[in-house]
């Protein structure tokens, strides 16, 4: 990148969040305890990013902690060309991937290469009607487990994109930046992930969690 463009992009990234830019400057000037405030808004995102790779709570927590420590140690190398959040999430994903490789839970060949050319079935489940499942139903552990399991079963490249876009609520551009892929790749993978989830979940949720009406018109849950 030439110097002019670099300065422009740095200005763009930091002007998005002046409070954050100011925190980073103060930490670099010695107020290191402010790093606690800097990362607080991103704790959940960092954990979920690690969990998307490792699919294990304890391992994801360790990876998330390590990623935050690495971000603290390397803050000097953060140059503001991207947002702090995307930089931090990239560190978390790399940390989780590295732990997954070391754990040898998966063969060393590239899963990404295999799955990018994967021509799976991305057609949705056919339904003729859908009665909305309200969020109060999430009080039932069984529903949470059904949703978690469907996301866990997504192939890794789709689970990563889904987590960053739909759970961490990053926009398409930031998701692409964290994963180092194009925005078009993000859109394609996200579409496939969502269709796979609809295909798996819609019939299961419709059968188990759709409210029935009793004779008095009240919703009853099976």
């Amino acid at each position: 990148m030439d110097e002019g463009k670099e300065v422009q992009s740095r200005a763009a990234a930091t002007s998005d969040n002046p409070r954050e830019a100011s925190l980073i400057a103060r930490i670099r000037n010695g107020e290191q305890e402010l790093f606690h405030d800097l990362i607080r808004p991103y704790e959940r995102q960092v954990f979920l990013a690690a969990f998307a790779i490792l699919a294990n709570e304890a391992e994801a927590e360790d990876a998330a902690q390590e990623a935050v420590i690495k971000a603290f140690r390397n803050l000097k190398s953060f140059r503001g060309e991207s947002k702090f959040s995307t930089w931090l999430l990239s560190i978390a994903l790399n940390e989780a991937r590295s732990r997954l490789r070391k754990s040898k839970r998966f063969p060393s060949e590239s899963l990404e290469e295999k799955l990018d050319s994967y021509e799976g079935d991305f057609t949705p489940a056919m339904l003729t009607d859908w009665r909305e499942i309200p969020s109060e139903t999430l009080e039932r552990a069984e529903l949470r487990a059904t949703l978690q399991s469907a996301v866990d079963q997504l192939p890794p490249i789709y689970r990563e994109v889904f987590t960053l876009r739909d759970l961490d609520e990053l926009n398409v551009e930031d998701t692409a930046s964290v994963l180092g892929v194009s925005t078009n790749v993000v859109k394609v993978r996200l579409h496939r992930a969502r269709m796979m989830l609809q295909k798996r979940l819609a019939p299961a949720l419709k059968d188990t969690f759709t409210p029935r009406r009793n004779w008095f018109g009240r919703a009853i849950w099976r």
Binding site: I27, E33, R44, L75, M126, W130, R194
Partner: protein
């Protein structure tokens, strides 16, 4: 151009994200008006995304934040200047 069901499915994700061209969006909406299958697919997908995004579905472990900041404090006490190697 009239869209068939398969075309509509290809656009569902972008339709939900409100990132399809206005012309395609109009075509999709025209199709949804008379296609109960595509309407149910769209509604169920939206509902599933809403439920999975709820913080109760993927909750962070209890005490996660406390343990994270404790570890960070420990790191800071061993390295008073973050700009030092």
């Amino acid at each position: 151009m009239a869209l068939n069901c398969k075309h509509v499915w290809d656009y569902i994700s972008e339709y939900i994200d409100n990132s399809v061209d206005p012309e395609v969006r109009r075509e999709i909406e025209l199709h949804l008006e008379h296609c109960e299958i595509c309407s149910a697919i769209l509604d169920s997908t939206r509902n599933i995304l809403y439920l999975t995004a709820d913080a109760r579905t993927f909750a962070i472990p209890v005490g996660f934040s406390q343990r994270l900041h404790d570890r960070l404090r420990k790191e800071m006490s061993g390295n008073p200047d973050p700009n030092l190697p």
